[in-house]
């Protein structure tokens, strides 16, 4: 086993565990906000359909949250398991940030999650709604802290070197480092979009089968309305993220756009397919849309941008990975945008719930948010290579002194156990979806907290908020 490289194994293990983790926070952050909105609507209108939507998604949320928690606990040890040297250098900077995340977010989520999941018959509806809001707030705060930690690694600020150690000189600059304020909204929007396409996709599936029509129409209407606003914001914010990158991590964007030459031809095409040759510092093959590169990236017809050769070879990331992760996110973002525009048009013509080709597209798009999120993170993380902290520490110097064989065997263990998590999550979620939302459990009716249920005059005749009824 002497030819196994601990560096590669440590990176694989970190990348695998964090990629797996982020899938579930993305879903939880989005669904938590969705649940809070639906519960607010239920409390406000008393319409039982909202309650049914809440109940249905709460179950899926609980599973996703559970996996998010247990894989997150792994992450707080992963800095030591795989990158102990990084932990020793950067612990004084990112440790308190993630510590604050635990104090202000993890405890908040955990404290109110029990009430949200199990407390409906024990606390009044207002307090229950409050608990839902606290969980949603917790996931948002959590995102803010962890993005501060990660953004500091991308664009470090507020620290000074002192005898080979990092000393924080200004905490506010550590947190509000140059990329945090654009990456945080980008990530939050990504999570909300993920939930919007998830709930819309499932509703579309019901509508295609002619099942649960009332439930599905209402959910689809909410989901697509949210998606329209969110994707417009996301394209705008994403563009800002790119502009920030040009300033602070130019190599990443150079790799993401696929050019090698110090300056690109004028006008610059926008590349969609490349076969890069990293050793030769050139593309073997490239294909793109003429003019579009100049227009998108320089806002002019003939502008040019710089290619990866502007960055010394020993500081370049692997172009092929960065390029394609970026293109996956971008392509999905544009698809979402197109779908949002079409949904407005269909809604206008009253065909949002009946255009079968559109519903089928939505079913296919159900996991699109997760895929785009992973693409974005791969771009961000692989584009930072060969550094783990931009300009300060190389990944190769960060690895734990753990034998390769140990790293390999635990990597296999992680893959096996996480496969169980993922398999069970998919099976149970699909089973819940197939079973469909259930009505109100009969024993719930007489309880005090549900007294609205006993007032059919509210429950039955609420006009639907939108749609074609």
């Amino acid at each position: 086993m002497h030819d196994l490289d601990p560096l590669i194994l440590a990176r694989l293990q970190f990348a695998f565990t964090i990629s797996f983790h982020i899938i579930f926070p993305t879903i939880s952050i989005g669904l938590a906000l969705f649940l809070a909105i639906v519960e607010a609507l239920w409390l406000k209108t008393g319409d039982l359909v909202y309650r049914q939507i809440y109940r249905f998604w709460l179950n899926i949320f609980a599973m996703s949250f559970g996996i998010g928690v247990v894989t997150g606990i792994v992450m707080s040890f992963q800095f030591g398991l795989t990158f102990a040297k990084f932990a020793q250098l950067a612990g004084p900077v990112i440790g308190p940030l993630i510590g604050y995340e635990a104090l202000t977010a993890f405890f908040l989520e955990a404290g109110f999650l029990g009430i949200m999941l199990f407390g409906e018959s024990r606390v009044g509806p207002k307090l229950h709604f409050f608990a839902t809001c606290m969980v949603a707030l917790g996931t948002t705060i959590s995102t803010a802290w962890i993005l501060a930690a990660n953004s500091w690694m991308q664009t470090p600020a507020g620290v000074a070197w002192d005898h080979g150690r990092l000393i924080v000189t200004d905490w506010w600059r550590v947190i509000d480092n140059p990329s945090w304020s654009v990456r945080l909204p980008h990530m939050l929007l990504a999570a909300y979009l993920t939930a919007a396409f998830l709930v819309s996709g499932v509703s579309a599936w019901y509508l295609l089968r002619g099942r649960e029509t009332t439930f599905a129409r209402r959910t689809l209407s909410l989901g697509m309305a949210a998606a329209c606003i969110l994707i417009a914001a996301q394209v705008f914010v994403g563009d800002h993220v790119g502009t920030t990158l040009v300033k602070y991590q130019p190599a990443k964007l150079q790799a993401a756009e696929g050019w090698w030459d110090k300056t690109t031809p004028s006008p610059t095409p926008y590349l969609w397919i490349i076969v890069p040759d990293q050793a030769g510092q050139r593309n073997r093959f490239q294909m793109g849309t003429p003019y579009f590169g100049s227009i998108w990236l320089t806002r002019s017809l003939h502008g040019t941008i710089g290619g990866l050769r502007n960055t010394p070879v020993d500081q370049q990331p692997r172009m092929v990975l960065v390029f394609y992760s970026f293109k996956i996110m971008l392509a999905l973002g544009m698809t979402m945008f197109t779908i949002a525009v079409i949904s407005l048009w269909l809604r206008w013509h009253g065909r949002l719930y009946s255009a079968r080709w559109f519903l089928r597209t939505l079913v296919v798009m159900t996991p699109s948010g997760v895929v785009a999120t992973l693409g974005g993170w791969y771009m961000a993380e692989i584009g930072r290579q060969p550094f783990v902290i931009t300009g300060m520490m190389r990944t190769a110097d960060a690895v734990s002194p753990v034998p390769a064989a140990t790293l390999l065997s635990t990597l296999i263990a992680f893959v096996c156990v996480y496969a169980v998590f993922f398999g069970a999550f998919l099976i149970f979620t699909l089973r819940l979806i197939r079973r469909g939302p259930v009505g109100l459990p009969p024993h719930a009716l007489p309880s005090g907290s549900l007294k609205r249920d006993l007032r059919p005059e509210i429950a039955g005749v609420q006009p639907y908020l939108s749609g074609t009824e």
């Binding site: 792994v74 606390v123 734990s400 002194p401 635990t410």
Partner: protein, 331 residues
């Protein structure tokens, strides 16, 4: 002000909260193994379902305090206990997801219960391996771990693992007796008679071996002899007290659980005192491993301001689910 000492106290606080709170969760999980009745098992899991997540968060808090306050120690200890830590994380993970998955599957619930119990058992045992490994000593090489990942699997560590399982099970029966009705409570009472005695006995054996394999422990015990004696007397008295009260029906069920918490607390305090002032026992002190003052200050301000709020709403969450677990679950 001695900032590293304050950070170390906060670290100890988080660890103690973890051991006491997740300790009873894990104990209840382990106790699913001898329980055959599916109904009772459902009640047992219901008794911890609404609050386990918050309990486990104290482990994260402890790990992050170590990372922020004592990065040198974090970077040595986590690789030193690489295999026990991964074992613990994977077991905690399997156990955590079983909460949701068993709830959603009527047909395969038995299988998930087994995963749940096995996960609890291995997680508790792996934590014991770490305790044993700390006592026997961690090899360091400048500021890295210098030993082998298998060091934590010595016979002594294996034994320490069993001791921790017994301790958590003692907490677990206390909680079940408090939260359970009828069959669950009777089951808890039955095991409450012998588990605290087993924990007490195992601790004495482990301690005796510890002092023979780790000479520094004797020095440390001599230095803190008064405080340590108090802890040990409290520890033994609580253990005997629980076992004695277990048989009587006229005492409040809260007393048994309270005594189990006190027993665990005195055990943890004794362990902490034995190691003081080292973070990596008998090699690297708190002050040698501490991060710079700017980090310690920032962390401590957060800890001091936010922890009371956390404790308040965590207590509120417990209050919402006070009383015995309803027979039909929490829904």
């Amino acid at each position: 002000m001695d900032l590293p000492l304050l950070s170390a106290l906060f670290l100890m606080f988080a660890l103690t909260m973890y051991v006491m709170l997740d300790g009873f969760d894990l104990g209840v999980g382990v106790l699913l193994l001898p329980q055959r009745d599916q109904q009772v098992r459902n009640r047992m899991v219901d008794a911890i379902a609404p609050t386990w997540d918050g309990n486990e968060t104290w482990l994260i808090m402890a790990a992050l305090t170590l990372l922020a306050g004592f990065p040198l120690a974090y970077g040595i200890l986590v690789p030193a206990f690489y295999i026990p830590v991964v074992l613990m994380l994977l077991s905690l993970g399997l156990r955590g997801v079983s909460f949701e998955f068993r709830h959603n599957s009527a047909t395969s619930r038995r299988r998930w219960d087994f995963v749940f119990a096995g996960g609890s058992l291995i997680a508790a045992w792996a934590q014991g391996l770490v305790v044993g490994g700390l006592i026997q000593g961690v090899d360091t090489d400048l500021d890295s771990f210098g030993g082998s990942p298998l060091d934590a699997f010595s016979p002594f560590c294996l034994l320490a693992g069993v001791t921790v399982v017994a301790g958590y099970a003692t907490l677990g029966v206390g909680w079940l007796r408090l939260k359970g009705e009828d069959a669950t409570r009777a089951f808890a009472r039955r095991h409450q008679r012998w588990l605290p005695l087993a924990f007490l006995g195992m601790t004495i054996i482990t301690g005796a071996i510890a002092i023979s394999i780790q000479p520094n422990l004797a020095v440390s015990w001599r230095d803190h002899r008064i405080a340590l004696s108090c802890c040990l007397i409290a520890f033994a008295a609580c253990g005997l007290g629980i076992a004695w009260l277990a048989g009587r029906d006229d005492v409040d069920d809260r007393i048994g659980f309270g005594l189990a918490l006190a027993m665990m607390l005195s055990g943890v305090v004794a362990l902490g005192l034995s190691f003081f002032p080292y973070v990596i026992p008998f090699r690297i002190t708190l002050w040698q491993a501490a991060s710079a003052a700017s980090t310690q200050e920032f962390l401590l301000i957060g800890a001091l301001v936010v922890t009371p709020v956390v404790l308040a709403y965590s207590a509120f969450a417990y209050k919402v689910f006070r009383g015995r677990t309803p027979a039909e679950g929490w829904y």
